[in-house]
């Protein structure tokens, strides 16, 4: 259990109980000093690093969130504008369609009136022509008849 004279051991030095007070004394000193270092230097430092990092990460996340909100707002605006433009477009198309229809109807009406007038005129003229020619034929036939009669009477 104990050291031999030539500084080599028989058995385990771990079980040499005469060294225990010394070991425990230095261990307690070591533990107390180490605990003080941990408590007053290591933990504040690590927590400081951790908190700072957390702060920056949280800040970045908050900023990202803000940007995301703004983007969604802008998207909403764009959608609204699009909706507005679409309805305006529809309106314009409707009114212009109506206008075109009305104008076409008007034009059709006009052209109908014009054509009927033309037809009437033409019919009138035709009638005149027909009446004229009948009178002329009567006149000519009268002249012809008298001429024939005179010729016949003269030839005798």
């Amino acid at each position: 259990m104990a050291s031999t004279s030539d500084n080599s051991v028989v058995g385990m030095p771990q079980l040499d109980f005469s060294t225990f007070p010394n070991q425990i004394f230095w261990l307690v000193v070591f533990c107390v000093v180490l605990f003080a270092i941990v408590k007053f230097f290591i933990i504040p430092r690590m927590e400081d690093i951790f908190v700072n990092r957390r702060k920056i990460i949280d800040g970045n996340i908050a900023k990202a969130e803000e940007i995301r909100l703004r983007v969604s707002e802008i998207e909403k605006l764009i959608e609204e504008e699009l909706e507005k433009a679409k309805s305006q477009c529809d309106e314009i198309m409707n009114t212009s369609g109506k206008n075109i229809k009305e104008q076409m109807a008007l034009a059709l009406e006009d052209s109908k009136i014009a054509t009927t007038q033309l037809i009437n005129e033409a019919e009138g003229r035709l009638k005149e022509l027909r009446d004229g020619s009948e009178a002329a034929i009567e006149k000519i036939s009268e002249e012809l008849a008298s001429e024939i009669i005179s010729k016949i009477s003269r030839g005798k």
Binding site: G11, M12, Q14, L27, F35, I37, I43, M46
Partner: protein
């Protein structure tokens, strides 16, 4: 345990407590090789945790990464096992962890002294944990802490038997807690030393033991970290038992 062979291998010599300042006599206050390595461990810890992270970098450098890794590893472990209320005990558990971790890792340096290979050291730590946890258990839960031994989820007939088993296992905790760590440290170092002794005696044939040393050393690198982790996680488990004794 005797290793007085022809090879003249003394694998246990590395564990001798040697008063390095005051000569032969070992008084309780003598500065020993063990105390020296505790001091070196203290300096290393300060170097990694205080010097390494002196710039409080947002994006950590190498040393600060190590410090943060260890710090938040233990912090998360406590939160996982004990819960948020366990963070009150974080300074103690973290002290325990780096004390053991640095002791184990520094012990792997050639010619170093592994203070965690001594049962006096690990026994003291384990007993401190045991006593602290028992006191915390009684302070937080009063006699309700004793429900830890009375397993209400088991059938009534089995409970007295389980009570005996639980009580025994509770009091065996500091023993297993300390011997696990010291035994692992001692065995690994002794094995390396034995192979080193072979290497010294074999001359050109030393290539085989040196290869073995390399392999064992690699294994030991793993073991020292795992043992520090195991010691700490068991401390957390015991603390959790004390804070929440109902199974």
């Amino acid at each position: 345990m005797e290793k007085q062979s022809a090879f003249n291998i003394h694998p246990m010599d590395q564990f001798i407590i040697d008063p390095i300042l005051t000569g032969e006599n070992l008084e309780w206050y003598s500065f020993t090789n063990q105390a020296l390595w505790m001091l070196i461990s203290l300096v290393s810890i300060s170097f990694v945790f205080i010097y390494g992270s002196r710039k409080h970098q947002l994006v950590p450098g190498r040393l600060q990464s190590i410090a943060e890794l260890l710090y938040f590893f233990i912090r998360d472990m406590i939160i996982d096992i004990v819960g948020q209320e366990g963070l009150r005990y974080f300074p103690y558990i973290f002290t325990l962890f780096i004390l053991i971790l640095f002791g184990n890792v520094l012990g792997l340096l050639p010619y170093s002294f592994t203070y965690t290979s001594h049962i006096a050291v690990t026994g003291f730590l384990a007993l401190s944990v045991f006593i602290a946890v028992t006191i915390i258990g009684f302070v937080k839960n009063g006699f309700g802490f004793l429900s830890l031994f009375w397993i209400s989820s088991a059938p009534l007939a089995l409970r007295p038997i389980l009570l005996i088993i639980e009580v025994i296992s509770y009091f065996v905790r500091p023993v297993s807690h300390s011997i696990r760590l010291a035994g692992n440290m001692m065995a690994g170092h002794a094995v390396i030393k034995v192979f080193a002794g072979f290497a010294g005696a074999l001359g050109i044939g030393a290539i085989a033991p040196i290869f073995a040393i390399t392999a064992v050393y690699g294994l030991e690198m793993l073991v020292v970290v795992i043992q520090a982790y195991v010691f700490t996680i068991l401390t957390c488990v015991y603390l959790n038992d004390a804070l929440h004794p109902g199974h």
